[in-house]
């Protein structure tokens, strides 16, 4: 494995072993132990699109492990605005760094960058394509909650059309025999070619517009934000989006161990009343972004995570 562009770059064994590394790195991520495994290494953060959590968690992960980070900075003031190609930008950063994390508005940009680069590329989102590092932290959170990834029933709800996190996650979950329920408005259904792909891999996939009526079956409910700008007018948005909002009272019939995840930022699709229920896991999930990315950085830089790490019993 050179970089991580889509989940296809990882085998199930790779996923299990990276999640195990992440588990052992928890005390380091929390700052309880200092473990400079990546001392002397430099991460290039190339975010051609806005990002808060992904960029910051990459930066935190690198620094917790003793490494350093250089940033592209604001695209508006970088050479990109002068018309530099992605190829040329990558050639430059490739020479400055040991590994690159990138997000780009165009689909396929990460694979393109990997073909142009000597160093590994971590895809932090390419258009409506893939977001595999988010998937790794999602899988870590699911495993943490259920003790397994195998055979779970997972509802993915909201904007399934444009949401790259749900595309990558669906592909990963079917590899572990999970049953998927896609709950979305008609306009924002999971792209047909993805549903087809998943079914070709033998996945049990149901498509529905009904989120609340299916919650009682779920082990995991993965919520995403529905963006107003996807709809022709605000009334239409209000009518549709209301069906994809969770309130604590909607969870009365949920399984007790069911967990709710969200890639964040949320707007109003999860009511604050849910935050204090035993189902809410989205803030832990956001924290897990650091530990999952620490494990990925080590893996792609060929740095072994020690079998025992002092200072924490994760």
């Amino acid at each position: 494995m050179k970089g991580l562009i889509t989940m296809d770059d990882l085998t199930n064994d790779d996923i299990h072993s990276i999640l195990a590394d992440a588990e052992r790195l928890l005390p380091v991520a929390r700052g309880e132990t200092y473990l400079p495994l990546l001392q002397g290494k430099i991460l290039g953060n190339l975010f051609f699109e806005p990002s808060t959590r992904t960029r910051m968690s990459f930066e935190t992960a690198m620094k917790r492990l003793g490494g350093d980070v250089v940033n592209l900075g604001d695209v508006k003031t970088s050479s990109v605005v002068k018309g530099e190609t992605l190829f040329d930008t990558i050639q430059m950063v490739d020479g400055y760094t040991d590994i690159i994390a990138m997000r780009h508005p165009r689909q396929g940009a990460a694979r393109y960058a990997q073909d142009a680069a000597r160093v590994p590329i971590l895809n932090g989102g390419d258009g409506a394509g893939h977001h595999p590092t988010q998937t790794m932290l999602d899988l870590f959170t699911i495993q943490q909650s259920h003790g397994t990834l195998e055979g779970l029933t997972v509802i993915l709800a909201g904007d399934l059309r444009y949401g790259r996190t749900v595309h990558s996650l669906s592909h990963a979950l079917v590899r572990f025999g999970c049953r998927l329920i896609f709950a979305s408005p008609e306009l924002l259904r999971m792209p047909a070619e993805i549903v087809e792909d998943l079914r070709e891999h033998g996945a049990d996939v149901t498509e529905t517009e009904d989120l609340l009526g299916n919650i009682n079956q779920a082990d995991v409910v993965y919520m995403t934000r529905i963006q107003k700008e996807r709809f022709a007018d605000e009334d239409e948005y209000a009518k549709v989006a209301g069906a994809y909002k969770l309130h604590a009272r909607d969870l009365d019939n949920a399984k007790s161990e069911m967990v709710i995840l969200h890639p964040l930022p949320r707007v109003d699709e999860i009511h604050p009343s849910v935050d204090s229920t035993r189902h809410a896991r989205y803030f832990e999930q956001a924290f897990n972004g650091v530990v999952a990315r620490m494990a990925l950085l080590c893996r792609l830089l060929n740095i072994e995570v020690p079998a025992e790490i002092a200072g924490g019993d994760a």
Partner: protein, 158 residues
């Protein structure tokens, strides 16, 4: 007999290339694919919708005084994967060639997805479409992984 009769619908050529067994109605697309549709320097003969034992009906193209290369002919696989090609020298078949798309179509067409990274014409890496299925032909962009619409693809020739 039927095939011989079909071939005689247009005169035999002395030197050049004959493309036979093109699916009926696809000959014009083949001309476009081979960049022959605007080329006025060589005589081209076209027979469309003639009976064929193998295919029911078919199209045939004869290009005079030009031997198409294997890489030019491989483009044909996009619309006529089962076509058969003969290079003619002094009225006889000098060589028979087969179309072979291989595992990847490189620098022949641009991905049809409007938000693919390869839409920027200044990006220098090659255009790459992976053949994921041959029957029916299914192609995906190496970079964005989007499945390609074959009818649209023909307009994206490089």
């Amino acid at each position: 007999m039927a095939d011989e009769h079909n071939m005689r619908r247009v005169t035999a050529i002395k030197n050049g290339t004959v493309i036979d067994h093109i699916p009926s109605g696809q000959a014009l697309k083949v001309l476009e694919l081979l960049s022959l549709s605007g080329d006025t320097s060589v005589p081209v003969s076209l027979v469309m919708n003639v009976p064929s034992k193998k295919m029911g009906s078919k199209d045939i193209i004869k290009v005079e005084d030009r031997e198409l290369t294997q890489s030019e002919l491989d483009r044909l696989a996009l619309v006529a994967p089962d076509s058969s090609i003969a290079i003619i020298r002094a009225y006889s078949v000098a060589e028979k060639l087969n179309v072979n798309l291989g595992e990847e179509v490189r620098n022949v067409v641009r991905c049809t997805f409007s938000n693919c990274i390869t839409q920027n014409p200044r990006e220098p890496l090659p255009h790459r479409l992976r053949v994921t299925k041959t029957d029916p032909l299914t192609l995906r962009c190496h970079y964005c992984q989007r499945p390609q619409d074959l009818d649209e693809l023909i307009h994206n020739l490089l």
